[in-house]
């Protein structure tokens, strides 16, 4: 019997701040440093997918189409620690000035919001 299985999780962090919440500019390197440190320290690491991912969505507040370009991260997380990953991404919404962050857990998608 497999206890506490590892789940493949992936999430997208846009390389620019939300233009409605903030100024739409690129993040400072310190923000990426924070994410790397948190992933390393709390989740034992992650893999960054090569390249960036272009996407678009409807802004829930303005209902305008928004395009973004994101880094994708892949991390294996025990089922019992998914709450920590969600906490991390909730904080990441603040750090990276996003309304929500796309998270896929074993193929099921959530949109993690700020605290």
């Amino acid at each position: 019997m497999v206890q506490d299985p590892l789940l493949e999780c992936s999430f997208l962090i846009p390389i620019r701040r939300d233009s409605n919440l903030s100024d739409g500019e690129e993040h400072e390197p310190d923000m990426w440093d924070w994410l790397s440190t948190e992933l390393f320290d709390r989740l034992c690491g992650a893999t960054a997918a090569p390249g960036t991912y272009q996407g678009f969505y409807e802004d829930p507040d303005t209902h305008e189409r928004v395009t973004d370009e994101s880094y994708k991260y892949i991390v294996a997380v025990p089922a019992s620690r998914l709450v920590e990953l969600r906490q991390l991404l909730s904080a990441a919404c603040v750090v990276f000035q996003q309304k929500c962050i796309y998270l896929s857990i074993a193929g099921r998608v959530e949109f993690v919001e700020p605290p």
């Binding site: 690129e26 310190d30 990426w32 440190t37 320290d41 090569p50 880094y71 906490q87």
Partner: protein
């Protein structure tokens, strides 16, 4: 990177490597070589390399992951990553406060003279500051900003604590 005993950071700051032992310095050199060989941050090769490499190095020395992230080598590894990301256009260094001051003067006052009249900073001193030859002390900056309705703000990154264990 600079002299063997110094590392020059992305923003021009100097980090003293003399506290590192030989193996740590070699690790820093290895990180720099890897970054030079994989300069395109879009490939994420360096990003995927340095945590594992630095983590393995200090794990062998008995450091926890948390302790590893507080080492000078980790700081340098991240600085290198930041350099690559800025070069690739994937990140941007924050504005020096003097650039923000310059923008406020141009956009709201039109002239340095008017700004100086309102804040009490001499034009000569302001010229040096905006040319980045000198700094204003935090007190002087704060006092000047207060006279025109601005203030300095310190913002903390959110601190995440793991959820408390329940039975």
């Amino acid at each position: 990177m600079g002299k063997n005993d110094k590392y020059t950071g992305r923003c021009g700051e100097t980090l003293d490597l003399s506290t590192l032992d030989r193996d740590e310095r070699e690790l820093v050199a290895e990180l720099v070589r890897f970054a030079d060989a994989h300069p395109d941050a879009r490939t994420a090769e360096y990003w995927n390399f340095y945590p594992k490499r630095v983590g393995k190095f200090y794990e062998a020395r008995g450091l926890s992951r948390s302790e590893t992230t507080r080492t000078l080598v980790w700081q340098i590894a991240q600085d290198i990553n930041g350099r690559l990301m800025v070069a690739a256009g994937l990140a941007k260094d924050s504005k020096d406060y003097r650039e923000e001051l310059d923008a406020i003067i141009r956009e709201k006052y039109g002239s340095r003279r008017r700004f100086c009249e309102l804040t009490g900073i001499s034009e000569d001193r302001l010229s040096h500051v905006l040319a980045k030859r000198k700094h204003l002390s935090i007190q002087a900056l704060s006092d000047a900003l207060a006279k025109i309705g601005y203030t300095i703000q310190i913002t903390q990154l959110p601190d995440i604590s793991p959820p408390s264990q329940t039975s």
